[in-house]
Assembly symmetry: C2
DNA sequence: GTCGAGCGTAAGCTCAACTTATGCTCGACC
DNA sequence: GGTCGAGCATAAGTTGAGCTTACGCTCGAC
């Protein structure tokens, strides 16, 4: 019988590309991962990996098996969720990941509703950039997460992650009246590697230029303070612009950001997950979203 | 992560009813099965089993988990089948189970076609009563099997087994012109515990009487010889009555027997299974089925 | 050419999972 | 009602799978 633990390693390899990265993700040594994958290959009776230069890559058979690994692990997730449901209502620890703005704006009312409805539930929040969420979910470090996606930045398809939309908000530009008008300005973006950073770059590219990025700041309040100090322009989502400092003009753009709840595929029927997603939904009307675009 | 091996044990328990029977089926000691199921219960966090008198039975949560075990094991089966397909064409050992008449009539041409088309395939045939087939398939003792089902004898629903119909044949009654006319005769049936035995009993019950079963004989040629010797009446399928001995009158009844191929659910795409089922189909036209009822 | 990143193998250790041995409880049977 | 066997659970011992550390090899960057 195929071992789901080994299938999990193979799936991680297909996403991360190197055995060392898989080992780091599952907190094993690379040697252990290498041995497990060798054993899987032996049981499979086909080559699944092949050395390509300094790393390994999957063979055609390896990719086929990864697809089946998704299905197997999803069914195991469903079984675990069913057991959690059989244990009774939502209780125990629930690891929640959230991007900073959501942690600040959405989580407080959501957590109040959640623990009010389910006193046995122990939510544990970690701030995390949406780009890192699916890995953290797959690794079991998180159970649910609040993520966002932007126009221009297509979310990577991930067969192991399921999402549920929560709300949309408009994007605003500081100082200028349009992205094109800020062609020659200094730009303030989030740190490279984050979705927000990618979004700014893409929006400018769509307007026909490469932004002159001068500052990398994650906290939108700081971003607005920089803008107020004349240090550059920036794109900020509605929720980050509830109290702009004096002198910062905000122009609403035909550009949206969508916030979603994400969890491991198959885990959607887990009582704690359901409760959390429900709580997120109930908290949305409390947000200062003066538009529904 | 839930262990599929333990889920398999739980599933076997749900069918067999006692830990001792499960242990015998998987060739473990009852102690090992008991320990594994205890571990599963611990990981699940819910009671799955409860002592009822001298045996154990499943709790509601246990039954829920068994349903998920079916899904998980089916996906693992699919993954294995995909690997077999990736290994190339059908090859290696293929364990085939068949009831005696099928082994005599259908298998010779089917095996010729099978090994002719796939020289690497090594078919291994075991005669087995259809009543025991699903257990043998689940235990991995067989890969495919030829089974039959009768009117009046509903096949037990088994979520882990998949079947594909091959052909139908009519049933014949020896000596008498109708079952009702044989109410006071001595009856010859197969051994108790077989489907054929159950079929005879049910057919008589449907005609309004309990048969006076005097002889238990599995081989239909012997059955016909007994009938020719005036030792009783019997129901025989068309394929078992190709050359009745002189003096045995056969009356075709409005009663059918269906022959099917059975295999583990999810294993239908295994190249060897596909090849075998195809070979079965190609052999059907060679059978002396002078009717298609 | 040198060096580090990445992979694989060898050797050792630890724990899970099996066995055997034993005790307990329930139900059948005289 | 006592006896006995079937069935399950626990204790103790053994084995092997799966991890670690240690080390060697190869490839690609600088």
């Amino acid at each position: 019988m195929l071992d789901p633990r080994k299938l999990h390693l193979l799936r991680e390899l297909s996403r991360r590309g190197t055995i060392a990265a898989v080992a780091e993700a599952v907190t094993f040594t690379p040697s252990a991962v290498s041995q497990q994958l060798s054993a899987l290959e032996r049981e499979a009776g086909v080559r699944l990996l092949e050395r390509t230069g300094r790393t390994v890559s999957l063979t055609a058979a390896g990719h086929v098996l990864v697809e089946h690994a998704h299905a197997v692990l999803e069914q195991l997730e469903r079984a675990s969720a069913a057991l959690a449901a059989a244990r009774g209502g939502p209780c125990g620890p629930l690891r929640i990941g959230a991007f900073p703005t959501a942690a600040r704006v959405l989580l407080p009312p959501a957590l109040t509703a959640l623990t009010g409805a389910h006193p046995g539930l122990v939510p544990m929040v970690s701030e995390i950039d949406p780009a890192d969420v699916s890995a953290a979910l797959r690794a079991g470090e998180l159970d649910v997460a609040l993520v966002h996606e932007y126009d221009f930045v297509p979310p990577p398809a991930d067969a192991s992650i399921e999402t549920e939309p929560l709300f949309r908000e408009a994007m605003y530009l500081t100082v200028r009246a349009s992205v094109a008008a800020a062609r020659d300005d200094a730009w303030i973006t989030n740190k490279p590697g984050t979705l927000c950073h990618a979004m700014t770059i893409r929006a400018c590219q769509a307007a026909g230029f490469e932004p002159d990025v001068r500052h990398h700041v994650d906290d939108f309040d700081t971003v607005l303070a920089f803008a107020a100090a004349g240090q550059g322009v920036a794109l900020v989502p509605r929720l980050a612009a509830t109290a702009p400092p004096p002198g910062v003009r905000l122009t609403r753009l035909p550009l949206a950001r969508r916030t979603l709840a994400a969890f491991r595929r198959g885990n959607g029927d887990h009582p704690a997950i359901r409760a959390a997603v429900t709580a997120f939904h109930t908290a949305v009307p409390h947000l200062p979203l003066d538009d529904s675009a």
